[in-house]
Amino acid sequence: MTVSIAETIRERVQQIETMPAIPAVFLPLMKLLSDSGESVKLDEVVRLVSYDGTIAGQCLRVAGSPLFGLPKPPESIKSAVLTLGLRRVETILLTCCLGQAFPAKKWVLDPVIFWRHSLGCAMVCRKFSEKLGTADVEKAYMAGLLHDIGFMVNCLAFSKEFTGAVARAGELEIPLGEAEQATMGFTHCETGQALAEKWKLADDVIDVIAHHHAIEHSQKAQALVALVHLSDLLCRMRGLGYGYYERHMVDLIADPAWAILLKEHRELGGVDLVRFTFELDEAVEGIHALVATVFGSAPVSA
């Protein structure tokens, strides 16, 4: 990437300031989520969420949806935590925050498709890391949820250029990142990184956002980047991609990311990838329903 492109990206991302801001509770929530292993956080979560009635309301709506099978919708965040568990409520909140941060009308990509992919990837990351017995399952979820935020930046700050990239990707049936590189000269990885740095996200999450298509450049959290890269590919092959046919074959086990992950987690060798794929299919319908609940009727900010 040339200096001038890097400069343009930074400038435009700075201008996102004028766009609808990220809800105030988002970053503190992210921090809470990152500090895994703590047991007493309920009061803090409740306190944070009470600042933002919209988020709290949306969270309760999701918690009360058929997805979670509660006999009746919880009446407060506190009772939602008691029935669903703190971690799950935190991730619901995080998801709702992101839905609020970006208005539906400025999109070049269909937001429903974008969120299906992001949530799908988050879920696959979580399932994968459960199979690997990694301690930080929630970190994996968060990395999956955020890995493509660069597309949101592109929608907001480079909408004209990005429109061309999306059209090219759909027409040639090639990965969106390839089309970005060909038409714009940079990708969502660079713009996402700029936003993540502006938001001061954790280093390992920034690493994922910046390098999930080029693991060889990742330095800080190679195993996490590899995990997200593989989950991303798998989602795109199982109906949770970007809404068009991607003409390519994916050989996950021969992918360099597989070897990187295997080096750190021997358990990966025992994963039945076919069954894992079939299990992912089972969750697709649930993801569609979740996206409809969280984002389908999200108020569009001015």
Binding site: S39, V40, L86, R238, E279
Partner: protein
């Protein structure tokens, strides 16, 4: 108040009221997968339960638990599993059974094979429909190849070898006459182009489609005959190996591997897995479907 960190749970719980299904069916599902490689997903668990129900009625088993005993205890075990597999794969035979497989074939695999063989003098594509039953899959492949005959496959010779153990099935296949149920996934375009009307309820595949397919009797366990199948680009073997025990299955798969050209592909049924019976094939993903790949010499992945 202390909230103990919750064990990681999937964000998206399975949709619908799967809870209504007796947990024994999940045990049966896992057993069926282990023995046959057929995976019935959560949403299709009711189909498995229906299949078990029909068997239970015949056997006079009162509860799912009783039936589980019959499936796991000698001497009834092997026979009963076979009966159950019959029940749950019944009705899966139809034309255009798996569109994702056909998409992978036409959009990704054919262009690749054509590019690879472009320097060869004889441009020949050989496909084997192994365990072709009454011919639905074989003719579906033939029609799709005919669709490419003026484009990708211009100047190519296409041979589809279709074999089955059962003589009666082969006779039916040769006739190529199908009722409403068998053509339920066939589009009007294909019906008009490649079928003639027999009567109100029956269609027959046209001679130009039949010309591409050669039907013959073959036992996949007949090693000497298997050795003769050579130079194949693609092998399809859907819901056939599920009836084989581990040793025979492994033997047949090894044959398929040597029957295939380098760079060739092997497809199973849509919810079927090879498990870990062969470590030479690469498990690969295409949008919406998986296949097994015999790496090309160029790829250096053999």
């Amino acid at each position: 108040m202390t909230i103990i960190a919750q064990p990681a749970a999937p964000l998206v719980a399975p949709a619908k009221s799967v809870e209504a299904v007796d947990p024994v069916y999940r045990q049966i599902r896992d057993l069926v997968y282990k023995v046959s490689g057929i995976y019935k997903s959560e949403e299709k668990l009711y189909l498995l339960a229906d299949g078990c129900g029909r068997r239970m009625k015949q056997l006079g088993a009162r509860t799912a638990r009783d039936y589980w005993d019959q499936l796991t205890a000698q001497p009834s075990r092997d026979g009963e599993l076979r009966q159950l597999l019959n029940e749950i794969t019944i009705g899966e035979t139809c034309l255009f059974r798996s569109q994702p497989q056909l998409d992978a074939l036409r959009k990704v695999i054919l262009p690749e094979i054509v590019a690879e063989k472009t320097k060869q003098i004889t441009k020949r594509l050989r496909i084997w429909s192994a365990g072709c039953s009454t011919g639905e899959e074989s003719y579906t492949l033939a029609m799709n190849m005919l669709e490419e005959s003026e484009r990708l496959l211009k100047g190519w010779t296409v041979e589809i070898l279709a074999t089955d153990l059962n003589d009666r099935s082969i006779e039916t296949a040769k006739a190529g006459v199908y009722g409403d149920y068998a053509v339920r996934n066939t589009s009007d375009y294909f019906k008009r182009k490649y079928f003639s009307t027999v009567d109100e309820k029956k269609l027959q595949v046209r001679p130009e489609v039949k010309k591409l397919v050669t039907f013959s009797r073959l036992n996949l366990q007949d090693d000497s005959k298997m050795l003769f199948m050579k130079g194949l680009d693609l092998v399809f073997c859907c819901n056939v190996l599920i009836y084989f025990d581990g040793v025979s299955k492994s033997k047949v798969i090894n044959h398929f591997f040597s029957n295939l050209n380098f760079g060739g592909y092997f497809f199973l049924g849509t919810s079927e897995s090879l498990m870990k019976l062969n470590d030479q094939f690469h498990l690969v993903h295409f949008p919406g479907t998986i296949a097994y790949w015999k790496p090309s010499l160029k790829s250096g992945k053999l």
